[in-house]
Symmetry: C2
């Protein structure tokens, strides 16, 4: 593993890959952030339509997204791989090259890992260590009644890209390349997440990896609040309308419940000047859209649909033991 | 996951399970240690002969062993599970109960994790965060020519226990219970590892999870030295002799190359008084055995066998891409 990872050791890394454990000097001015994410062949990706380099880059972005959602900076990755017996060394080297490229893109470093065999599926499990100044940490727990709810970027593109790949493989219509790229190369919102945190105006933040309905639900549960959002306000790529022109219900499902989305949702006090939101958006190069507001807990989570009807928005995200 | 893990939050844990990432206050006086280990059904365990509680406890001990090998203390665990679709909630709860019991036994805490599905095999991937005072950190890299080589406990019991389970299932002869327990409930050598580190006499240390030949090889490679060890000096359970009375070559293979061993190997300067070694052994309640000494690199790694013949000891540990 040593040779493949390379040795880009920062002065805070006392021991990197190649001992029983990595040894690092932590930053006493910061709170450490720790998160892990797994990508399972067949569930999260299919080797028929994702190249190993892309797969490695994607696995890192997906994991880094959790650190972005706390307003933090990713520092170190620990990469555990379970490899099927038929996987070639060439595939592994390309996969690891993608992991390393994306890690370095975010000025971060692989410090450890583990390789096992014996599964029929390729499994990539990445633990990220990040950091954030204590006073800038944004959790899921402090959204207040009346706060405005914002999201970054566009909703639904990730899962729409995944569905295009599942249906067409790599022969999807070329005009949908950006949609497919949202799945293949999701952008961990490190920069805008950091800028939102530094503004000190966000009361809560989360990434939308489980889908809008589930993740807004997590904010509401943890903050003990309700929410009201409007379907018409949700930022949607016009190509999604085109793909689902004959199935508006399917489009709605994708936008509201689709996972594989690495945009951020955050809440801010309604007194925050709109110019501040605009300047965060401009500095980060990311669209920020207000989609609703926080309500008292007893009102639940309400969606105002396209016809101005009010409906309860139930979380339909993934839960292994939901049944 | 929240409910199952419980909420035993130390004051250093700002956010535990239930946000995008855990947030912890690190100890500015210590170097942080980070390690991960995977347990794959069929490769590392078989559900026919390991109960879910034992499996959870074992997964933690195996992971903590890497922190012990640095002389450190384990603080936090991040638990990633990939669950087969047919796995029951009851099994999962028992598995997690074992993980939690063993984590708390070592005065440590689960702070995060991730659950995925889609594999045919149960996979448990655990990342451990530990700590050690900077001046007490023991790596693999500082063994010096002339140093004495010691191991803790007995060699070969883990893999011998695994082989008994593979052959007999849970109906193995009861007199071999201790051998089987070495596999089912390995003891992470946290206490003796910490005591060895605090003595400041160890020049290098490693756990024997890949087997003696491989792990002594790692020490020699990282420290740029050779080694000479004597087969007769290696600590062996007398029951292993009994099990393999008709196959001394098989016994030798188990002792020299068998993995699933969570004993520690360490090197110390030859001037270290034997009374100090004895006092570490006594305080830790763990047998310490001198098995050989460190030689110049060009002499390679030599085994003096039972008939006093010298042979080169080749590492035969596991390597996914060894062929």
């Amino acid at each position: 593993m040593n040779q493949i990872i390379g040795k880009r050791i920062s002065s805070d890394v006392i021991l990197g890959v190649g001992d029983d454990a990595a040894a690092i000097k932590t930053n006493p001015e910061c709170t450490q952030l720790v998160s892990s994410d797994s990508q399972v062949e067949g569930t999260h990706f299919n080797l028929d339509w994702i190249e190993p380099v892309s797969l490695g880059k994607r696995a890192i972005s997906v994991s880094f997204s959790d650190i972005a959602a706390m307003g933090g900076t990713a520092k170190y990755s620990v990469v555990s791989l379970v490899l099927p017996n038929n996987l070639t060394l060439e595939f592994f080297q390309k996969l690891f090259s993608g992991i390393r490229q994306q890690t370095e893109y975010f000025d971060s470093q692989v410090i450890g890992g583990n390789i096992s065999s014996g599964s029929d599926k390729l499994i990539i499990d990445i633990t990220i260590l990040g950091e954030v100044k204590r006073e800038l940490l944004v959790s899921r727990s402090n959204a207040k009644v009346g706060d405005h709810i914002y999201v970054t970027g566009m909703l639904g593109n990730g899962v729409a890209g995944l569905e295009l790949l599942r249906y067409h493989g790599l022969k999807y219509p070329s005009k949908y390349k950006n949609i497919v790229d949202s799945y293949l190369n999701p952008t961990a919102r490190m920069k805008v997440g950091g800028n939102i945190a530094r503004s000190k105006y966000a009361t809560s933040m989360i990434d939308l990896s489980d889908g809008l309905s589930s993740d807004l639900g997590h904010i509401c549960t943890n903050s003990k609040v309700g929410a009201e959002i409007s379907y018409d306000l949700l930022p949607k790529d016009r190509l999604l309308n085109e793909i689902h022109s004959k199935s508006p219900e399917e489009l709605k499902r994708i936008i509201l419940h689709g996972g594989d989305c690495y945009e951020l949702l955050f809440t801010v006090n309604p007194d925050v000047p709109i110019d501040l939101i605009k300047s965060i958006s401009k500095e980060s190069g990311v669209k920020l859209t207000r989609i609703g507001y926080v309500t008292p807990k007893e009102r639940g989570i309400i969606l105002i649909d396209a016809k101005k009807n009010r409906e309860t928005l139930k979380p339909l995200g993934w839960n292994h033991f939901s049944e």
